[in-house]
């Protein structure tokens, strides 16, 4: 048990920190959140800088063009970029964290050559077409159909919760290539396709969330023709291919967010001291409790990352444990922020209030807390599935 970073890790951190200090002041101003093309350009520009500095695909295998960094280096990278206020991964999210690693693991040499370098260089944006209106928690029940027609699939259906769809070049798409029957369970019969977003028949409609923003979109597919060569993995084997992606797990998923939460907590305490609510012992102790909580979540992050490092990044289920606790803690953080703000908590122009709205999704997105508890209970604790 050791929490000290190795000399090599400290060097990595120092080099990164120096580079960030140098490069961040050179960045153009951040675009307005509603300016999609501007955001695409900004995010890709940042990715290009990472690429040129040797940080692109930090955690990707070297043979896929990545840096083959250890989980600990990845943790340091996320910690330092968050602390320095560097741009978020943004539009590069799906490419770098889902589609890319999937192609790296399951794609043909040709597919890897075609799709991986543009992700790393910041040339192409990917989005994700997994969820459907009727297939949320039960993702495998998805119904978007792909029918073989010569060397193409003809795809029809609809997807939801697709972020960056407006500006993506590619979509990693899950489609049903064999209908569900008594012999074919729903997890079989799914295939993974790379869909060019400019293909005829693709319609994107922004989806307004309760926070009033349109971070997500719905995507409608009307007889869209996708070359068979865009399929990664075997036909009907897309569920397994996808799970490789979803469980691409090094314990680092929430590193930046935990760092950000701790910064928010410090700011909340400062605000409470300023507006006098610090004298409310109940509120003050609630802030103290959150400080304990996020400190422990940071230690749990280090624990999970070290575990991933030991096992060589083998998929773990520790992520569910972390997410369950973290998503609740972060919602509690913003509820506490509302207490600190008092009546100002009703003012959307005040800091933290929009974050509070966004935080409502934490116990839902990427597997509801209910689903996560099932996963923990069944896969870690070995409790039986219900009838």
């Amino acid at each position: 048990m050791d929490l000290a970073y190795t000399e090599e890790e400290e060097e990595f951190r120092a080099r990164l920190r120096a580079w960030l200090a140098d490069v961040l002041p050179q960045l153009p101003p951040r675009p307005d959140p509603s300016d999609w093309p501007g955001r695409r350009a900004y995010d890709l520009g940042w990715q290009r800088r990472l690429h040129d500095a040797g940080y692109a695909g930090l955690h990707w295998p070297v043979d896929a063009g990545g840096q083959g960094a250890t989980p600990t280096q990845h943790l340091i990278y996320l910690e330092e970029t968050e602390r320095a206020g560097a741009p978020y991964v943004g539009a590069n999210f799906v490419g770098l964290l889902h589609a890319g690693p999937t192609i790296a693991a399951e794609g043909t040499p040709e597919q890897r050559r075609r799709w991986l370098p543009p992700i790393l260089r910041g040339d192409e944006v990917w989005c994700q077409g997994f969820s459907e209106p009727d297939a949320g928690s039960d993702l495998a029940s998805l119904r978007t159909r792909a029918v073989r027609d010569g060397d193409h699939y003809v795809v029809s259906g609809s997807k939801i919760w697709t972020s960056h769809a407006e500006v993506a070049d590619w979509c990693e798409l899950l489609v049903r290539t064999s209908p569900v029957t008594d012999e074919v369970p729903k997890h079989r019969g799914i295939s993974w396709l790379a869909l060019p977003m400019d293909a005829p028949g693709v319609t994107v409609r922004p989806l307004r969330t309760l926070a009033g923003s349109t971070e997500f979109a719905e995507m409608f597919l009307d007889e869209v023709r996708v070359p068979v060569g865009n399929r990664v993995g075997d036909e009907n084997d897309g569920w397994r291919v996808t799970m490789v992606t979803l469980s691409f797990e090094r314990g680092t998923a929430f590193v930046g967010e935990v760092v950000a939460c701790r910064r928010t907590l410090t700011a909340l305490a400062a605000e409470a001291r300023k507006n006098g609510r610090w004298d409310d012992a109940v509120l003050r102790r609630r802030l103290g409790r959150l400080n304990v909580e996020f400190s422990a979540l940071w230690r749990l992050t280090q624990w999970n990352v070290s575990e991933a490092q030991r096992t060589g990044g083998v998929p773990g289920t520790g992520g569910s444990v972390f997410k369950l606790r973290y998503s609740h803690a972060r919602q509690e953080l913003y509820d506490t922020a509302a207490e600190v703000l008092g009546p100002d908590s009703l003012d959307l122009d005040r800091e933290w209030n929009l974050d509070r709205l966004s935080s409502l999704s934490y116990t839902i997105a990427a597997g509801t807390s209910q689903i996560q508890r099932n996963i923990v209970a069944e896969r870690i604790l070995g409790l039986p599935k219900g009838r």
């Binding site: 949320g136 307004r208 309760l210 959307l348 509801t368």
Partner: protein, 290 residues
């Protein structure tokens, strides 16, 4: 002792519910929510409410009122809360008999809350309290324009607190019904999600919070006791806010969309909870009474 609704009270309850269903149903709600940034007040609806006695409910009949009491007012405001009816309903109701035209819905009255919040300032004809220097605020509730006045003064008005609690109660009950309906309709893993215990138990807890708040709010309406009103507000605030949160959780991703009504209940519940005494103040009040 007969702590149940009388026949007349049931009739009033269903009357208000039908009126609101007809004049402020889901389409009207969505038109406001999906419309331009600032919602506008429907003056015609306001006068219809006036004609139906919503504002004059507690005015003596000799003054042109309906001559009913607080319990009836609470039932009416519970329905308003269920329907998410917008506007400074509480302030106008409390102004009936004191401000010309409030009773009939011709005059829209708002008030400065003890916290300094002023809903619907621009749309109101009369402001009670000192709104000098009030600045507009980008309201978290899309259906309630807000101003902030320099620190509000005075203690919260118990009647306003009670009627607001009644609205919270209505919202809490509605969130529970909405969650249950969705849980019966939405299927995942081959069965309605309402068949899963995790969802079932969320819904059960929503009902429990609602029914406890109901007993507290109705009792406070009967006794008009100041402390009991504070307690009712505390419980109704919790029921409304947590109920909307749980409703959102039951809806999953769909609950996170603008298009679902869930968030409208949550945001209004947050707003109402910010009015009146804080939870801490109520707890201190009830601790001191021990």
């Amino acid at each position: 002792m007969d702590f149940q609704l009388t026949e007349d009270q049931r009739a009033l309850q269903s009357g208000v519910r039908e009126l609101l269903a007809g004049r402020f149903g889901r389409e009207a709600l969505r038109a406001l929510a999906d419309g331009p940034e600032q919602p506008s007040l429907d003056r015609e609806l306001w006068r219809e409410l006036g004609a139906a006695g919503f504002f004059a409910l507690r005015l003596p009949e000799r003054d042109g009122g309906v001559g009913l009491g607080l319990p009836e007012a609470v039932l009416a405001f519970e329905e308003a809360g269920r329907a998410l009816l917008p506007g400074p309903l509480v302030a106008t109701h409390l102004a009936a008999g004191e401000v010309e035209g409030a009773a009939t819905g011709d005059t829209v009255v708002t008030a400065v809350d003890s916290s300094g919040l002023v809903p619907w300032l621009d749309a109101s004809d009369v402001v009670r309290g000192d709104a000098a220097g009030a600045v507009p605020t980008r309201s978290v509730d899309p259906l309630t324009p807000l101003h902030r006045a320099p620190a509000g003064v005075g203690a919260p008005d118990p009647l306003a607190v009670l009627l607001t609690a009644a609205e919270q109660l209505g919202s809490s009950a509605r969130s529970c019904e909405t969650a249950v309906r969705y849980a019966r309709e939405r299927s995942q893993f081959g069965q309605p999600i309402g068949a899963f215990q995790a969802v079932k138990h969320l819904c059960a807890q929503m009902l429990v919070r609602t029914e406890v708040a109901r007993a507290a709010v109705y009792a406070a309406a009967v006794t008009a006791d100041r402390a009991e009103i504070s307690a009712a507000a505390l419980l109704a605030d919790e029921a409304a806010v947590q109920g909307a949160r749980d409703c959102l959780q039951v809806h999953g991703g769909m609950g996170f969309t603008w298009e679902a009504d869930v968030h409208l209940h949550l945001k209004r519940a947050w707003l109402r909870a910010a009015l009146g005494p804080s939870a801490g103040a109520v707890e201190e009040e009830w601790a001191a009474a021990l």
